[in-house]
Amino acid sequence: MFKSFIFILTILTNIVAQDDLSLLLNDYEEKSQLHNKTKVESAGHLIIYSRDDLDKMQAHTLNDILKSTRLFSLQETQNGQTGLQRSGARCTNSGCIRLYINNQELSSITNSSALMIFKNYNLALIDHIELYIGGNAVSFGNEYGFITIKLYTKTPSREKGTLLSLTTGSNSTKRGEFLNAGVLEENYEYLIYGSKDNNTYNSIYNGYHEIKRYDDISNIYLNISKEKDFLLEFSQYKTNHDALAGDGIEKTPTNTFEKATYQYIALTKFVNDFKIQVSYAKEKNLAQNIDNNGIKLVTGDIVNKIEQEFDNSVSKFSIQHSSTFGNHNLLYGIDYQDKKLNLTKLNHDDIDISDTFISDSELKLYSIFLEDSYNINKNNIIIATAKYEKYQHIGSDKSDYLHQLRFGYVSIINDLFTIKSFATDNNIYPSAKEFSQYPRVIDGNPDLKPIHVNNYSIELIHQRNKHKINLMFMKMIIQDPIKINSSNHYFTKENIDAKFYDSSIDYAYDINKNNKIKLQYYTTHHNRPFDASPLEGGFIKVMNAYDKVSLYNELIYRKGYISPNNIKIGDGYDFTSAISYQINKNLTISLKGENLLDKAIASPIEGFGPVQTSQKQTNLRIEWFF
């Protein structure tokens, strides 16, 4: 008690002792935060992790942020891929998540979600993160996402220097990062980033059979830009991780892994009120599955080794324009994507069977959209969005025509209360993985139809002095979702309406710039006969800083459940504690313990039961900026 009293007193003394320039500087920093420029309040229910938040949280990878996201749980799949599961559901399609770095979408043709490649994306090059839930704004991209994750890279003119960091920790974690950013002649700016991660986690065992767990990543990112003119980006991201239980009958994999290389070049150009984007991305995926006890294929055959490699590409072009007419602000544009699926290797027991692969080689997506933001008066705005999409398959000559509709209402009731509400009518197009057919464990189905999703949500935001409360209610109806047929092992459509009802409350108390408390709780009800992921969750986050010391403590809760494959998952309590000390103006040392209770929400892995996929670990990091 006495220690707490001294601590609080010290904080208060610190506040009082701040001079006028300090207060102005703090205010300036807060007002200048880049999310103030990039956030789109009307795009959905928004969660922001500012630069200051990321620093205080010592968030070094994307996982550190996503694991506490309202209405989502971070769990792994049978093949060791990370999925961000929507409360109560288990998402197998990219329609669940859209991931962007600046304006470039990081999508995966082969995998169903971009997170399966980018789950541990390093955040040292990221300034801030915006999460949009349930809104699906058309201005971001041309496909639906229940949650849109937007990462924004640091602005070189605000960095101006070089960062070197080294991290070492339990589980043999080793990470090195380099960042250099600056301003050239004529106000051209550049950012160079490189990182290398090696993570070896605790093995898991199936009886006496050891499954080694690891995750190796390398990332190179470069950009050159000029404010209000253009942004040119290049990135190469490589990952290699174990495939957890694999696809074998007995779940006894050996030398089973997934490797991916994702490269892109992207240009965003601003001309008057036009925003033009051109990009080209290549995604190379190699998956190897070896199980000496056999892998049973959909055909009934049993093999011991499966190797498959894809070398895919996505070309994109989009142009959008905004203009104001009276009380209307119009945003309209076109998007074009050309997705090429290219199988380069398909072997069973080292025998080439690539001629059995049946899939369209190319999918072209054309879309046109219009968004009208109509200001009824000073404090009330209506947003209406319509998008029309054509999915054209090259090969089978099949085309599908879809629409995305959105209606939003934002009302600033008074200085204390704001309401945001959205009604959306969307379609999720099946992925190439779900369409394509070849002898594998779960086969695709070329006859799949798009999934229809309706979402209705309302959020009440109350802000008074240093207190902020968000209340959100959401109803989501998924018509005829895609599921895996349990007897024939292929993707099929379920003729049902899956209904989800979500409620959440968030409370934030910003005592001052250095001391903040955040609380959250959410719960979901649904009409399905089983829970496919946790239905309840929440967190407590406490950030403190005094002089050169910063502290961060976080406890994330996820309620246990019984999975569809009858695995009982216990309640999850993920406790993180971190401390950092600024040795001098150039050097900072930090210590972070993650999942310290070793009770984070587990994943239901067939053959193993609940598997703790979020590792208990402690990392020591030294950061040098000059």
Binding site: Y28, K31, R51, S373
Partner: protein, 139 residues
Amino acid sequence: MFKIILTLIFTSTIVFSSQVMISTKIVAKIIYALNSNAKIWIDKKDNYTDVINIDKLNIINNCTNADVLIVKNEKNLINECKNKPILVFDYDLLYTNTNSVAAFFWQKGRPNILFIKERLDKFNITIPSKYNSYLIEKL
């Protein structure tokens, strides 16, 4: 009408204007700390529209009569004014220009203020002790 749209959609514009307002106050306080009655000369006024509101500062047109200079580009300085205390907005310029006594700049994603004692002494300037936390001996 246009204001309404600004209010609800382009909130970033509003945030930006308050950002400029605060940075202008910061600059005014830095200059006041250097000279409580300073006449200020500024190079190329157009370069500062995104940073400060120069109308709020005591700006004069002739640098020879100025007490403090605000400079972004050294090339804009005439010889007669090269030996006056300078406030800069860039760490590199602070590093290279030995007359720059104070700086307000971004680095590592954060705004910073620095006063250099060695250079302040050269101009016989003493800043209020409450700003000592921004004071460094030399670069």
